[in-house]
């Protein structure tokens, strides 16, 4: 994505005939977006040129300072980046961008614990920032702290209940956290995968695999009554199994045999 923004954005900025068709505000917005894309693709020299242009035009802008900090991060000059962000926070102690970029610096330096600490402090104030909850979950997962990651997904779901992504990640974690003595987590996961199927009009392949895996785990890890699915779960299992098998046969028949080999589908 960043590569395309960088490529097409650059040609838009450099082509004076095209960029004259943009209003001044739009023009500078495009400069900012293209700059971030160039930092993503590692085109430091070109990003530097844009930062200089923006700094000339907006010499006191905190938004431009943020970009300068990101440029320092890209050059691995983390000390300088930290100085820039602290300067921004001195002017505006609630500057979300600067607070988040400080977490990025800690993460880039490999200090995951520090990054987690800073992100938690940020979320104490800005608790409705879903992306921050997702990033915190990701940081927890990198430290194998799966229960804490699950808590983050719960918060994200509360903030954006209509977004299937967090339900999906939460369900995945419930599956991973479950074992023979906590099969109820698998039943919960099936519930969340069902919500994802509902929100995606039944198209999420990931959720279908999730349902099949959970049902298979319940049947193989459970003993006696606990190895049984409810009637609704049985119906969901056959429906999902049938749909996924059909999807493979229609879109990827050469791979259908490998789906069958997983042993989690019920269709013969």
């Amino acid at each position: 994505m960043s590569e395309q923004v960088a490529k097409h954005g650059k040609s838009l900025i450099q082509n004076s005939k095209r960029n004259r068709q943009l209003s001044e505000e739009e023009n500078w917005l495009v400069h900012e977006q293209v700059c971030y894309a160039l930092l993503d693709t590692g085109d430091i020299d070109e990003a530097k040129e844009i930062v200089e242009k923006l700094s000339l035009r907006f010499p006191k802008s905190l938004r431009v300072f943020l970009l300068q900090g990101a440029l320092c991060e890209c050059c691995e000059d983390y000390g300088k980046a930290q100085e820039v962000y602290e300067r921004i926070l001195q002017e505006n102690e609630a500057h979300q961008g600067a607070m988040k970029r400080q977490c990025c610096v800690a993460k880039a330096q490999g200090d995951t614990e520090k990054a987690i600490g800073m992100l938690k402090k940020y979320l104490d104030v800005f608790m409705t920032d879903v992306e921050a909850w997702e990033e915190l979950a990701s940081l927890y997962l990198s430290m194998q702290m799966t229960k804490q990651a699950a808590f983050c997904y719960e918060e994200a779901i509360l903030i954006q209940p209509q977004n299937p992504t967090n339900h999906l990640k939460y369900a995945d974690l419930l599956y991973v956290l479950s074992n023979a003595s906590t099969l109820h987590l698998l039943h919960q996961a099936i519930g969340y995968y069902s919500v994802v199927l509902d929100l995606t009009n039944g198209t999420s392949v990931h959720a279908k695999y999730g349902v099949l895996s959970c049902c298979d785990a319940i049947k193989s890890q459970g003993r006696g009554a606990s190895a049984k699915l409810t009637e609704d779960e049985e119906k969901l299992l056959s429906k999902v199994s049938r749909e996924l098998t059909t999807s493979y046969e229609e879109r990827s028949p050469q791979l259908a045999v490998h789906l069958k080999a997983t042993g989690i589908t019920t269709t013969t």
């Binding site: 995945d172 599956y175 392949v205 791979l255 997983t262």
Partner: protein
Amino acid sequence: MAYGVNAQAVGKVVLHGAKYGAGEVCGALLGRWDGAEDGPVLVEDAVPFFHKCENKYSPLMEVALAQAESYASTVGLKVVGFYQANERNDDGSLHASTKRIGDAVRDKSGFPKACLLLLNNEGFTSFLSGEAADSLPFTLYVKRGAGSSWEASRRESLKCLGGLSIKVIREIVMDKVAQGKQKDLYDFSEHICDLSKDWRNVNLIV
């Protein structure tokens, strides 16, 4: 213990790393072993799995391993290991999650010679640029016994197959990178989003 890799396996791992340079990537290694105690493990193919760390903590990991194993058997191979490239450039450590998957490959599929290949990120950049054209950008990890830990092997333990030198393998792989072939390499994550994307990546390298 000796391990060999061919151009196809190296190519797919490098292309996967090149496609998702800013994140972490992982996947299965497919190969063969003649069963002799001192016999080498020949890694002949790779199946790219994921480029987001969350997918490692999901049922998709087991699904991907099962499907890779199924595919391997259709081409006379088996899952012999797992490859991982860490997100940060200076992170050369074998994470607990990677070891866990290595244990699953070793114990669940009953292959005691299962190996882990950690992509050496800085070596990867030198390999692509040609500075280090005579060494493969991997660190090989093996486990000597069930109760032991994953240990890094000496560089000489990883050899090239097919009578090719590292330089020649590098040329083959760089040719594909130059052609932008990484956009045609599909991993299991991409397959989940679009079933028509084939994670077997047949005929991509050779």
